[in-house]
């Protein structure tokens, strides 16, 4: 077995033995997909079923899989099985994963731009669509934010001042604190590392709390809901998926925090920390884009 040669520095590329975790992960995704699909149908069509339980079981199994898989990898890493080449594989893999996330957000930004620049002006009669406006949507005027839809739904726009501006500052600061945590790790300044990482986690949680408040404000005071036309759609899907990513990023940082306390990382070897920090910075950049294109412009 490959591991028996281990504790010495391992320069050959480490090809792991058989592992049960991927198939557990596949079953988990299966349960999540079946569960989420059925849960959606049951929730919106008022049917009875096991969708919710299946989804919960899938998410639980995914957690089990992640814990088991990561534990496996941490053990391998700590016993010196990994080479510099393998470290590069992980880093490149993480960067390409983040790129795929960028493209996921690009789809929703694309929808936002298309609606603002093309669909709504056309409904208002721009380009050669005078008759569309005249015959199909008489009286509709193109505007953004779309507070009055062609179908007649009324809502109010979310301003950028107040909570969104505060949240922007919070996330930007969190990027800086995480950077200094990373610097602390690289310079072996343990205290700086733990304090700065802790502050970053705290800022992430505050951000999420304020986001929840903003959603309550939108639903209660502004009448801005998921159903209130393309403005509400793009607003909630973009900020919602961003919020999910912040949640995931915060969980990653919390896991990293405990691993820091256990002393898992060295100034030179800390792929997991680097990946988590890349992910956090990516989530920040997405927020900045959101702040400009969803809130300000």
């Amino acid at each position: 077995m490959a591991q028996q040669e281990a504790p010495v520095a391992y320069e050959k590329y480490y090809v792991p033995d058989q592992s049960p975790w991927p198939i557990v992960g596949a079953v988990a995704l299966f349960l999540i997909a079946v569960g989420a699909g059925n849960f959606t149908i049951e929730m919106t069509k008022g049917k009875e079923g096991f969708g919710g339980y299946t989804l919960a079981a899938g998410l639980f199994l995914l957690m089990v899989m992640l814990v088991g898989w990561f534990k496996n990898q941490i053990d391998e890493s700590m016993s010196g099985l990994y080479s510099a080449q393998l470290g590069r594989s992980y880093r490149q893999g993480m960067l390409w994963f983040i790129f795929s996330e960028v493209m996921f957000f690009a789809a929703f930004f694309g929808a936002l731009f298309y609606a603002r620049m093309i669909a709504i002006p056309w409904l208002g009669g721009a380009s050669n669509n005078a008759m569309t406006n005249e015959v199909l949507w008489p009286g509709f005027e193109a505007m953004w934010p779309l507070v009055s839809t062609p179908g007649g739904i009324q809502t109010q726009a979310m301003g950028w001042m107040g909570l969104p501006a505060i949240n922007t500052v919070i996330l930007l600061i969190s990027s800086v604190t995480l950077h200094y945590a990373h610097v602390g790790l690289e310079q072996a300044k343990r205290k700086q590392l733990t304090v700065m990482l802790g502050v970053t986690i705290l800022l992430g949680c505050i951000f999420l709390g304020l986001q929840v408040q903003e959603y309550v404000h939108a639903y209660r005071d502004l009448g801005l809901t998921l159903q209130s036309g393309i403005y509400g759609n793009t607003f909630f899907l973009l900020t919602g998926f961003h919020g999910l990513h912040v949640t995931l990023g915060t969980i990653i940082l919390i896991v990293l925090f405990f691993r820091v306390l256990k002393g898992h990382f060295t100034p030179k070897e800390h792929f997991a920390f680097q990946a988590g920090s890349w992910y956090w910075h990516f989530v920040d950049v997405v927020w900045v884009m959101l702040f400009f294109f969803v809130y300000i412009l």
Binding site: A2, S19, P20, G25, F30, I32, Y231, N233
Partner: protein, 535 residues
């Protein structure tokens, strides 16, 4: 390419690797495997099974269309068949087959011990059977499965679809996760795992084309995920992305879908280009003509694929400037594609040609893919597309590029590398029967579709005007014959997996060059534990 290798030798590798794991026995081998060859085999068998399942659905379609009038299936079931046939062939057959080939071949071609992230590799595969289980089982839920075409245009997939749309959406989500992880693995393997001396411009073309395909996958699969998400929220949660009443636009769906969809069709053909570029030089016994231009042509096609999507939408009422832009950008793609076809022909020019089975499929690919390419060029011309749009001409076009293109290239690849995988020559007589039956029947199947399409027969409709009856009868006969021909392939593959046939040499084919032909046949469970040095 002639890559002279200073080979450490398999003997040395075996001596060193005595405590090294071989293939474990039993079902656990396949469930828990981290071996790129095992995972490649799983992908290929899965793709072939899906090919037969999707093919069976095509048989239902052709049986219904054998005669005008409605006789065998309900129109709604017909729609489910066209939809699921398309989804299965694209996501279940062609893409996994190419990923299987990538798994088997890329590590052996670049001298790597395995894929860069072997466990994730296993995860990517095992998601797929579950994803298609969900998709296929959705056919049996109340109200039927997806019936809106594989392109799931809004409002067909939102306002007018059944509840099973939710299952469709989540199964596409996990297929996408699988594809993205597979693509990340391919890119990282190629970037990080090449043996010393395997410089970029020494890489076999199959590796190059897959690298570029993987870029496309990572760039567009998330956009597909976004599209299905918006369909889900529009259908179930009251959003209006594709509904003008809320300020959205059904045409926006088509923009988002085809921003994914057009690169997607190159995802299904670039690896085919790579395969053909490996096979033609072997049997022409000449080096590939214009290696560098092949690499640049592949990259150009990939880049252009991002700016041509709206040629699927000429009849949606886009502004004239957009129609012109997308028309010319699309026609531009024929330049790098023409470079490729020219290079393949130039490779054969004055070569010492022989016509083994892989070469037969490769030659059929060149001719028939080019027919599909030319009809694509016709479709690219905006004014004439107004006539062709949504007719059987389009069906003829994309089946020429996908069946006689992508699928034929996969068959060529299987015949080319199968002896390396099993260590034995496949049954050549059966293979030739498979080739000739497929070649003739596939043309009887798809060629008349051009005629009925030009005459105006619409696609995706279970009935047609009487004037199309004769051609449709022939199309259906061709379809059944093509379907039956694939059973010959199945028989051949089963024989090959049972280790029947003569043993082959390491090089297998006389003119074959490259790292994978320097290791033993069958390829050992682990290859290149120590990287070879390429001079």
């Amino acid at each position: 390419m002639s890559t002279a290798t200073e080979h450490v030798g398999h003997d040395a590798e075996h001596a060193h690797g005595e405590h090294h794991h071989g293939a474990p026995a039993g079902i656990k081998r396949w469930l828990f495997t981290t071996n790129h060859k095992d995972i490649g085999t799983l992908y290929l068998w899965f793709a072939f099974i899906m090919f037969l399942v999707g093919g069976a659905m095509a048989m239902v379609i052709r049986a219904e269309l054998f005669q005008p009038g409605l006789q065998i299936v309900e129109p709604n079931f017909f729609n489910q068949m066209t939809t699921v046939h398309g989804l299965i062939m694209v996501f279940g057959a062609v893409m996994p087959a190419f990923t299987g080939l990538a798994n088997w071949l890329i590590p052996m071609m670049i001298g790597a011990p395995d894929m860069a992230l072997p466990r994730m590799n296993n995860w990517s595969f095992w998601i797929l059977p579950f994803a298609f289980l969900i998709l296929l089982s959705s056919l049996f839920v109340e109200g039927g499965g997806p019936a809106f075409g594989w392109t799931f245009y809004a409002p067909l997939s939102t306002t007018y679809s059944g509840d099973s749309t939710a299952l469709f959406v989540f199964s596409v989500h996990i297929m996408g996760i699988s594809s993205i992880m597979g693509a990340i693995n391919v890119i990282v393997t190629i970037f990080n795992m090449r043996a010393p001396g395997m410089t970029w411009m020494k890489m076999p073309l199959f590796v190059w084309t897959w690298l570029i395909t993987a870029f496309l996958l990572i760039a567009v699969m998330p956009v597909l995920a976004g599209a299905v998400t918006m369909v889900l929220t529009d259908k179930f949660f009251g959003t209006h992305f594709f509904d003008a009443a809320g300020g959205g636009d059904p045409v926006m769906f088509q923009h988002i879908f085809w921003f994914f969809g057009h690169p997607e069709v190159y995802i299904m053909i670039l690896p085919a280009f790579g395969i053909i570029s490996q096979i033609i030089p072997t049997f022409a016994r000449k080096r590939l003509f214009g290696y560098a231009s092949m690499v640049y042509a592949t990259a150009s096609i990939a880049l252009l694929s991002f700016i041509v999507w709206a040629h699927h939408m000429f009849t949606t009422g886009m502004p004239l400037a957009a129609e012109m832009f997308f028309m010319f950008a699309t026609m531009l793609i024929s330049v790098p594609t023409g470079v490729k076809v020219f290079n393949w022909v130039a490779t054969m020019w004055r070569g010492s040609m022989t016509f083994e089975v892989p070469m037969l499929f490769a030659l059929a690919f060149i001719v028939l893919f080019t027919i599909g390419g030319l009809s694509g060029l016709m479709l690219a011309i905006t004014p004439v597309d107004f006539q062709y749009h949504d007719t059987y001409f389009v069906v003829a076009h994309f089946h020429y590029v996908l069946v006689t293109g992508a699928v034929f290239s996969i068959m060529a690849a299987v015949y080319y590398w199968l002896p390396k995988w099993t260590g034995r020559m496949f049954d050549i007589t059966l293979a030739k029967w498979h080739f000739w039956c497929s070649l003739i029947s596939v043309n009887v199947l798809f060629f008349p579709m051009h005629f009925v399409g030009l005459a105006g027969m619409p696609r995706r409709i279970p009935d047609y005007a009487l004037q199309f009856a004769d051609f449709n009868k022939w199309i259906s006969i061709g379809g059944f014959a093509f379907g039956l021909s694939q059973l010959i392939f199945l028989a051949l593959l089963i024989k090959a997996c049972r280790h029947q046939g003569e043993k082959v040499s390491d090089q297998v084919w006389e003119g074959a060059e490259g790292l994978e032909w320097e290791i033993p046949s069958p390829a050992p469970y682990h290859t290149f534990d120590t990287p070879p040095v390429i001079k």
